[in-house]
Amino acid sequence: MRRPLLSLGQRRRLFCGLVLLPETLFVFIVILYPLYLTLKLSFFQVDLYDIAKPLTSSPTLRNYTEMFSDRAFWQSLKVSVLYTLCATSLTFLVGFGLALLLHQPLRGRRIFRVLLAMPWAIPTAVGSMVFMVIFDSSFGVANYLLVRLHLAPGNIDWLGSPTTALATIVVTTIWKNCPFFMLMLLAALQAIPMEFYEAARVDGAGRVRQFVSITLPALRSVITISLMLNALWVFREFDTIYVMTGGGPARMTESLAVSIYQEAFRFFHVGRASALGIVTFVVCLGIVLACQKPLRKEFYS
């Protein structure tokens, strides 16, 4: 038998390298190149309709200085942070509660899980439309129920009033995202060996003690990762806000993600949109770096 040119191990490594190529190419062409383009354009004054022309001016920091002195930018940043904090923490609590409920020996658990997870599959934009109908100021069912149950004095203009618009968007986001937490945490709960609880019971630990000493530590890394992934999604969430309010009223719901879109496609300031994008990116990077330790443990171990 003729000896092959490469040893089996070498061929294996070659194969692994080759199959990584399509993905690498894709990441470079469709993601890293546009990212580089964003960074470059953030130093230029470019109009969306001039993008085919070569850049003639020299790079400046004008987009950044203008952005930092613009109150609208700080407003967007505030909206984004507020939205991310509220939506992520509340969604987490709802999702965790659901996971704990479903972790019990209940009849019909499987069908409950499928039904409760359904919002995950519904397109965000479509779900947001339904919430618009529910929270309509004059004919919405939410107002009807609240007034009937004497929880509200009269009809509330949910999406039109600066005080309630973001809250309505947060409710929609909780609805859409809590299945994610539920499924992740449920899977993690089911991976905890029963013996731990039995041993704890033998030692006389009550339910609260079991939860604090066994369940929470076992779920710690899953909680961190799902919180991080969700915070990243919410921070760049576009569909819900754009569909429900478009950033209004009076910019009270205009997050950074919506600002980027408006700058680029309504005002055609690609340069400014790019500068906003870079800031958004840096914030997301911050979120990821804050979760570095558990991440490294989970992904690279």
Binding site: L32, G97, A117, W120, M129, V130, I214, V258, V270, V288
Partner: protein
Amino acid sequence: MKPTRAAAPWTRTMSLRWRALPSYVLLGLALMFLLFPIYWMFLTATLHDDRLLSYPPVFLPAPSGLFLHPFARIFVNRPVFQWLINSLYVSGLTTVISLSISALGGYSLSRIKAPESRVMGGMLLLVRMLPGTLLIAPLYMVFHRLHLIDNLATLVIANTSYIIPFGVWMMKGFFDGIPKEIEESAQVDGCTIFGAFVRVTLPLSRPGLVATAMYCFVLSWGEFLFARTLINSAQKGTITAGVTTYIGDMNISWNDMMAAALVACLPVLVIFFFLEKHLVRGLVAGSIK
């Protein structure tokens, strides 16, 4: 919601049925919150034109039967059928491409433990946190230069770009669960490396492929930003972007709007209903091990 009771192990000392009652009540409340919008969408879609703005709202369908006109009307008033075809085309193609790339990339990341693979893995993580809105302006420019605006193929490329970072991690998680000794013994037995991958590893990772395919399809079906921005003509829209054009249109009544919304989510809901089991494993494989 008292987490403590749920965390308790399966106890048989007390009567199970009575102990579970509060849990069922809470589950019922949760179901009401999570399914009410879907129910309301259905109810509004089948509401008779005369009762559209009736007050108090109708909570149970009219006894005279369901009003199905909106479902017929939406196909006439707007190119809803064309949107569905477009969505099917975009999501189907995105799924095939993303799945292939994810399976190959995930295999590679799972099997090589070299530093380069870690760099690639880290890069994918980085990519996962890029906001879609950040990429949209430069992507628009790139596609504009290539004269690919208003072309469905553009959507396939854009969707793939934001789906593969997670798809690769999902597939990697599944391949990690397949011992590499199995394929190595096939290679020693005379299989080529590629042959072993196709004939041994891939069939073993079928649940992973199903989960990833479903994930790709659902995400691509629901994608809104790219579909809204990179497509201009009404005929080429996807269903998700298409139905949002009803918003703010004074000529459109609520029942038509909700009928279109229902049509837009029905395909993914059906898929989800049958493949949910796989999705759970996929999410877990992609994010935790």
